[in-house]
Structures are given as structure tokens and as C-alpha cells.
């Protein structure tokens, strides 16, 4: 079971990297980055998971619960991811207005 999750994490990361490296469209690049972030978030959750644990909410009658810290980290990471993505979209819009295309073109080099 846990291996399936790790496999999923690995494939999400790989898909994201593949997308960043091969795609020329800026939207697709940022979508790929989002996919990578999802993969990492999943990974953090998986690390905190303890087999048979319940949600770390205090109600007095549980013995095993999953590690709460990674979940807190994931919340933070999701917020950061969203803000970065929002900023990215703003820039993509600006880029489109300036260049009339979403294709990545280099202006500055060497």
C-alpha cells in the first residue's frame, strides 16, 4: 500500500520535471510545477502517516494517531504554492500582453 503512494509521488515529480523541461508554453510549465508541488505535498503526508493511525484531533479515546507536524507543513506548503502560482499567472498574463504569445522566447542570453 505505502509503496503505491511512493510510486505515485515519484511519478508526479517525474511528470512535473518532464513538463518543465520539454514544454515551451509558459502555462504548461507552471502547471507542471504545480504537479511537482502536489507530489511533494503527498510525500510529506506519507512520511507522517503511521499505519492504523487516526487523524490527530484530540478526542480522548485514540491510541495511534498520525504525525501532526507534516500535516501542518503541508498546509503551509499549499499556501505558498498557491501564492506562487497566483503570481506566476499574473506574470504570464503580463507576458502575453507584451509578447502576444504564451510560447517561451528568450530575449536575453549570454
Amino acid at each position: 500500500m505505502i509503496w503505491a503512494i511512493y510510486f505515485a509521488i515519484a511519478s508526479l515529480l517525474a511528470i512535473g520535471i518532464y513538463g518543465v523541461i520539454t514544454k515551451k508554453n509558459l502555462m504548461k510549465i507552471f502547471i507542471s510545477i504545480s504537479i511537482m508541488e502536489t507530489g511533494v505535498n503527498l510525500m510529506l503526508i506519507a512520511i507522517g502517516y503511521i499505519p492504523g493511525g487516526t487523524a490527530p484531533i484530540e478526542n480522548g479515546d485514540f491510541t495511534t494517531y498520525v504525525d501532526p507536524l507534516p500535516q501542518a507543513l503541508v498546509l503551509t506548503a499549499i499556501v505558498i504554492g498557491v501564492s506562487v502560482l497566483a503570481l506566476a499567472l499574473v506574470m504570464v498574463i503580463n507576458y502575453y500582453e507584451k509578447n502576444k504569445t504564451l510560447e517561451y522566447r528568450r530575449l536575453m542570453k549570454w
Binding site: 509558459l26 512520511i47 503570481l87 506574470m91 530575449l107 536575453m108
Partner: protein, 443 residues
């Protein structure tokens, strides 16, 4: 008097979000940065007299936010805030959003330096990165946007990699406190080695080390002078300090060797790329890369020689102040006024390592240290790169000294003040004593 280090981060963050309510953005920002500088100086005074400062917020570790300030962290906090203050004086028209982003970048850079918690470091890195992306794109022209997008793509990949590294580290130690992890660190399993690789790659993007620094020339070229200056003394210096902490956690011979070889490559590639560059900002950006390599080399010697930490301190501060001044000067074609000429020459000479500027002591101690290690490769690399650096900086000076363009006071004096800082630090070199007494980095 007890100084709470958290104020250094909390106050600018608070005011950054209050900024839309307060109308006078420039005055408020200047007051906050000045206040922060004084606070950092007081904190440094405190740390210097009473030893390293710990602060725990909300919960006890490993859950709560944990701040740890030693001498060198306090000095870097002073440096970042002071330079941010001087740099902000040169911004002519301040919009509210600009001031917000600026404060965020400064606060988060300070946060990276004084935090004692690796996840916190990640969060501060992200805040610094997000505000830097926006600041780089501030001019909203094609170059600025392109630079910002490159920075953003690489920064996002870096944040993902860093998070992976943190996840590995957490799964091994069940703790995020840097000092907790450091004390329990041993030879290391596969997971620990992997987490080092991921963290180094992630932080390395921010710290401009080769080959993770593709964004550097484009972002610096696209950004306005004051932003490029902020990037060079803020997030990138915090990034290299984070690498110092990383090496402290993973203090194996292997990781120092790695830092050394990466540092030498960064130094050589950066200086060579700057050698033929015609665009001033891009040349300065490549030169920054080279200097970062030099700083990384000094870090790689931390384990072997006592000089390394002094060299690190001088190289870092000298580079922060001098490059800040040069990026501010790069806004105009020539130097124009005497104050700008003074700033330009002093900064360039500090980077090259001439006395009585701070860079001289950096060069002196790094070569002393390399010789103590009998590391001939380091010496050869430094000799070669210094000559290349001298050649392109002489070329730079020969063009900028000629161009006459009148400089307004607001444009001429902030770089001159920064240059004066490097000069003072060089004339009073015993400041290094203060930085290295007690905790140093491995407190």
C-alpha cells in the same frame, strides 16, 4: 534589556500588510528599516555580551518556531537591514506595493539568517523568493518579465527540491530543529545523504551557485538597479548563509569536498562569463556568481582552518555592500559626480581585494587559509580568477569614469554610503574578532 529577535521579522511583516492603510509608504518604510537596523545592532550588542540568543515562539521545540542568533547571524542581520535601509533611500518614487514587497524581502532574508528551524527557513526562502519575483518584474517591460519568469521557474523547482529534502530529513530524525538534527547527525543513511543533495540543490538556486544559477544574469539584467542591489545583499547572502548552516548540519568531509569543487567551478565560470560581457548589469551579475563561488570556497574550508570563518565574514560583507553600490550605480551610464566615482572605485577595489577596503581582508585570510591547508588548486583558481576579474573591472571603470552624466543627490549618495561601509570595515578589521568570538557558526 532583552531583545526579542522575532521583532526583526515581525515588525516589517506587520507593517508590510498594514502598508495599504498607511499612506506615506516611503517614510514608513524608511522608519521601519532604520528601527530594524537599530534593533539588530542592539541585538548584536546583546549577543556579543551574553552569548547566543534563543527564542522559542508558541510551543517548545521541535514543534514551535525556534530562533537562534549567534554573533555572525546577528552581524548579518545588521548588514541586511542596514544595507536595505541605505538602498531604499535611492528609490525615487515609492509605490505602496513596492514598499510592501521590499519589506517582505528584507524581513524574510533576515528570517533565513536568524531562524533555527529548517522548515521555517523554507518558509522564509519562499517569502523572499515570491517577493523577489514580483520585484524583479516591477518594471513590467519585456526584459524584466522574462527575468522574473526564469527566476520563478527555477525558484519553484528549488522550493520543491528543498521540500523533498526537508521531508527526508524529517522522516529520519522526526525533528526540524537545526541544532537538534546536528547533534544527532552521524555518518548517515541513504536518506540523509539524499536529503543533503536535495537541500543543497534547493538552497543553491537561491545562493547562486553553479550550475543552479541560470536565472541570475537574466533576473539581474531585467531588474531595476535598486532591486538588483537588494537581491545581491538580501536573499542571495541569506542563501549562502543557509548553505553555511547546511554544511554545519552535514559536516562530513564529503560535503566540504563537494562545496569546494562546486565553489571553484562557480568562481571560474562566473568570472570568465563576466570577462566578455558588454551589458553592465549582466557583467555585475556574473561577477556576483564568481564572488559567490569564492564565498563557497571559504565555507568549504570551515572544517580545516580557523581563517575560513573570518574570510567568509569579510568576503560576504564586502561583496554585499560593494555589489549593492555597483548595482545602484549601474542605473546610469557613467559615474557623473565625485561621490559616485568614489563609490565606484571603492566598491570595485573592495571586490578585487585592495586595502584599505574590507575585501582585502577577505583575500588575505582566504589565501592564508588555503595555504594552511596546502590546497594548491584553491590558490591557482583564486590567482587566475583575480586577474580575470581585475581585467573586466578595469574595463568597466575605464568606460564609467569617462561618461559624464549628472547624478542627482538621491542617486549619488546611497552607493557612496555603502562604499564607506566597506572602507570602514577594512580600516577597522578587528571587527572580525567580534564576529568570531564565541559561537561562530557551529554554536
Amino acid at each position: 534589556m532583552v531583545i526579542h529577535p522575532v521583532l526583526l521579522i515581525a515588525i516589517p511583516l506587520l507593517f508590510a500588510f498594514l502598508m495599504p492603510l498607511l499612506k506615506r509608504a516611503k517614510a514608513v518604510t524608511i522608519i521601519i528599516l532604520l528601527f530594524n537596523t537599530l534593533l539588530a545592532i542592539l541585538m548584536f550588542h546583546n549577543v556579543y555580551n551574553n552569548g547566543p540568543l534563543y527564542e522559542i515562539i508558541a510551543f517548545s521545540p521541535p514543534i514551535g518556531i525556534y530562533l537562534y542568533v549567534d554573533n555572525i547571524a546577528a552581524l548579518l542581520a545588521v548588514m541586511i537591514n542596514l544595507l536595505a535601509f541605505i538602498n531604499f533611500l535611492s528609490v525615487e518614487k515609492v509605490e505602496i506595493k513596492f514598499a510592501m514587497l521590499y519589506l517582505l524581502a528584507v524581513a524574510s532574508s533576515t528570517g533565513i539568517v536568524i531562524t533555527g528551524d529548517i522548515f521555517n527557513m523554507f518558509v522564509f526562502f519562499e517569502i523572499a523568493a515570491v517577493s523577489s519575483y514580483a520585484l524583479v518584474a516591477w518594471k513590467r517591460d519585456k526584459e524584466a518579465l522574462e527575468g522574473a519568469i526564469k527566476y520563478m521557474v527555477l525558484g519553484s523547482i528549488a522550493s520543491v527540491l528543498m521540500l523533498v529534502g526537508i521531508a527526508f530529513l524529517y522522516s529520519e530524525f522526526r525533528s526540524l530543529n537545526i541544532y537538534d538534527i546536528m547533534n544527532r547527525m552521524d555518518e548517515g543513511s541513504v536518506l540523509i545523504l539524499l536529503s543533503f543533495a536535495f537541500l543543497l540543490t534547493g538552497i543553491g538556486v537561491e545562493a547562486e551557485i553553479f550550475p543552479l544559477n541560470g536565472w541570475v544574469p537574466d533576473a539581474y539584467q531585467g531588474a531595476a538597479g535598486s532591486i538588483a542591489s537588494l537581491l545581491s545583499f538580501g536573499p542571495s547572502k541569506a542563501g549562502i548563509y543557509a548553505i553555511a548552516r547546511l554544511l554545519m548540519i552535514f559536516s562530513w568531509q564529503q560535503s566540504y569536498d563537494l562545496a569546494l569543487s562546486v565553489g571553484i567551478m562557480t568562481l571560474l565560470i562566473g568570472e570568465l562569463a563576466a570577462f566578455r560581457q558588454e551589458n553592465v548589469k549582466r557583467m555585475l551579475a556574473y561577477s556576483s556568481i564568481g564572488q559567490m563561488g569564492l564565498i563557497l570556497i571559504s565555507l568549504s574550508m570551515l572544517d580545516s582552518t580557523d581563517y575560513a570563518i573570518i574570510a567568509f565574514f569579510f568576503l560576504l560583507v564586502s561583496h554585499a555592500a560593494s555589489k549593492g553600490a555597483l548595482f545602484l550605480l549601474s542605473e546610469r551610464k557613467g559615474f557623473g559626480s565625485n561621490a559616485s566615482k568614489y563609490a565606484g572605485i571603492v566598491s570595485v577595489m573592495s571586490l578585487i581585494g585592495m586595502p584599505p577596503m574590507a575585501g582585502f581582508w577577505g583575500k588575505w585570510y582566504i589565501i592564508m587559509g588555503a595555504m594552511q591547508m596546502e590546497a594548491w588548486w584553491i590558490i591557482a583558481a583564486i590567482v587566475f580568477s583575480s586577474v580575470v576579474e581585475a581585467a573586466y573591472f578595469a574595463r568597466y571603470l575605464s568606460t564609467t569614469m569617462q561618461e559624464e552624466e549628472h547624478a542627482s543627490i538621491i542617486a549619488a549618495y546611497p552607493p557612496a554610503i555603502m562604499a564607506t561601509l566597506t572602507l570602514l570595515l577594512g580600516i577597522l578589521p578587528f571587527i572580525y574578532k567580534i564576529a568570531t568570538i564565541g559561537g561562530v557558526i557551529n554554536g
